[in-house]
């Protein structure tokens, strides 16, 4: 199929329009973060840096970001370990119940968040008799983050094949040496990409979090939900969103560079 010049540029225009629609609300958020109006009327009546100043001195928001990072880091670490184990098992072995296991990994993300939320809430409180706190959030987040790591790693394992690992074993390397020198280096960028998505998923999760966080635990989405409808805080929330989007460029860019560098090697 050779696309004509017209259809190529038509596709380009459509892509441009879609991106414009994707970024329109974000642009509104950005502009409103400088607006002098607290109720975010359009067009903004005037511009101020007040909210940016307030956001960087807002103890509640900063503490919530710290909590969210903590939860996301631990949940991502758990998901990386469990996701890698399960993808190696499913990709390298054939066994009874394999399909059931792969369905089980997908289930926490395929079932609506509110189902996962009330199921875990009910289990933590009534069955396990736990107090809801930061660890219950971590457990819940890790559960639905496994799938992002799983998907990235299993796709990579499928593409890798087993010939290099077999060659390593033929040359006398044991299981650990083969994993350390052959398997892991090839998985690294898949783990980074999967971990990044897991982190993003956990960092922005609100529904499951609402049901599994104790009263003292305020992650960033919970803080935002508490403050979004308060007139004095809405512009501060906008500032935080803008900063998050800006900061997110760094890890996404790194992931892209790693993936790009690997493509060049091939």
């Amino acid at each position: 199929m050779r696309l004509s010049r017209t259809s190529r540029s038509l596709l380009g225009v459509v892509t441009g329009i879609i991106l414009a629609v994707i970024y329109l609300p974000l642009l509104v958020v950005f502009i409103n973060s400088f607006s002098t109006s607290q109720s975010l009327v359009w067009p903004p009546p005037g511009f101020t840096l007040e909210w940016w100043n307030k956001a960087f001195h807002n103890q509640g928001a900063l503490a919530a970001i710290a909590t969210s990072v903590q939860v996301a880091v631990i949940a991502t670490a758990i998901a990386l370990i469990l996701g890698t184990l399960i993808s190696i098992a499913l990709q390298r072995y054939r066994f009874f119940g394999r399909d059931a296991v792969s369905l089980l990994v997908i289930l926490p993300i395929a079932l609506p968040g509110i189902v996962t939320g009330i199921a875990l809430n009910n289990a933590f409180r009534t069955i396990l008799d736990l107090r809801l706190g930061i660890m219950t959030v971590v457990v819940a987040h890790a559960t639905f983050c496994i799938v992002t790591v799983f998907n990235n790693v299993i796709a990579r394992l499928r593409r890798m094949g087993t010939s290099l690992e077999e060659a390593s074993a033929d040359l006398g390397a044991g299981i650990w040496t083969t994993f350390r020198l052959i398997t892991f280096p090839q998985l690294r960028s898949a783990l980074f990409a999967g971990g990044l998505l897991a982190f993003a998923l956990s960092f922005d999760e609100i529904i499951v979090t609402t049901f599994t966080a104790g009263s003292g635990v305020t992650t960033l989405p919970i803080w935002i939900l508490d403050n979004l409808f308060r007139p004095n805080q809405a512009p501060v929330v906008n500032v935080i969103a803008v900063v998050l989007v800006a900061v997110s460029i760094i890890p996404i860019y790194i992931a892209q560079r790693i993936a790009g560098a690997e493509q060049l090697q091939k």
């Binding site: 879609i18 974000l26 958020v29 996701g83 997908i106 926490p108 044991g174």
Partner: protein
Amino acid sequence: MTRDAPAPPTDRAAVSSPRATAPRQLSVFLSKRPRLRLSLLLAAPLFWLGLVYVAALAALLITALWTVDSFTGQISQSWTLDNIITVVTGSLYQVVTVRTIGVALLVTLIDILVALPIAFFMAKVASTRMQRVLVIAVLMPLWASYLVKAYAWRSVLSQGGIVEWIAKPFGLESPGYGLPATIITLAYLWLPYVILPIYAGLERVPDSLLEASSDLGAKTWRTLGSIVLPMLWPAIIAGSIFSFSLSMGDYITVNIVGGASQLLGNLVYSNVGAANNLPLAAAIALIPIAIMFVYLAVVRRTGALDNL
């Protein structure tokens, strides 16, 4: 052979065998026992998913068969099908279920239709550098909080918002708050989750196949229909699982932009919270669970679950 060449090893013992350290011995032990290796790999993840998730889901299903004592507000563990019957026969639940499925399907359809051209441009038209920029551009909005984006749509669609500001000169109006606003906002929120698998799926369609198709005389549309779409189908379904299930369970976006309309998530939420009726909430939650299981069972045949 020259005289300088090193003598080949004549004795096999010249290659020293690895020392029998504990990890080495374990490695030898494991390499002979694939089943044991498999069990060790699966033990931790299955323990986690089984204990945390399956047990919790099962407990929720059981709770649906209990009732709440209307006097004390405590859950009484007497078995009854009342909640299930209420949910299946109640007209409120039927109407909301149909509405929720409709919203989820529309959101999914919109997302697929929007994702196809942009993913195609990214995978097959854009240069490598452009491709990298576009992937970043699609991924970045995922980091702006879900709530902030939903709230941004609230302000975009509000009276005196930017949509009205743009549409007014054309004699058009903003849709305001309600189901259309909910559909737009949900479609917006889940779009990156649909673009990414479709883009990855298109990346796997080799350019050589497309060229072969055109060499054999197929026009663009024929190639798209006979080559690209069949190969892409699992990726499309994989994307649709995200947008469909995320829409099925949402209750926050509806609260922010939906006006007075309710989805299944709202019914579950209000029964857990204000009404303090977990058994009824669990019974309502069975509806999306059942729908998702049917959906997954249907799409499993396409191989979509390997493309998430």
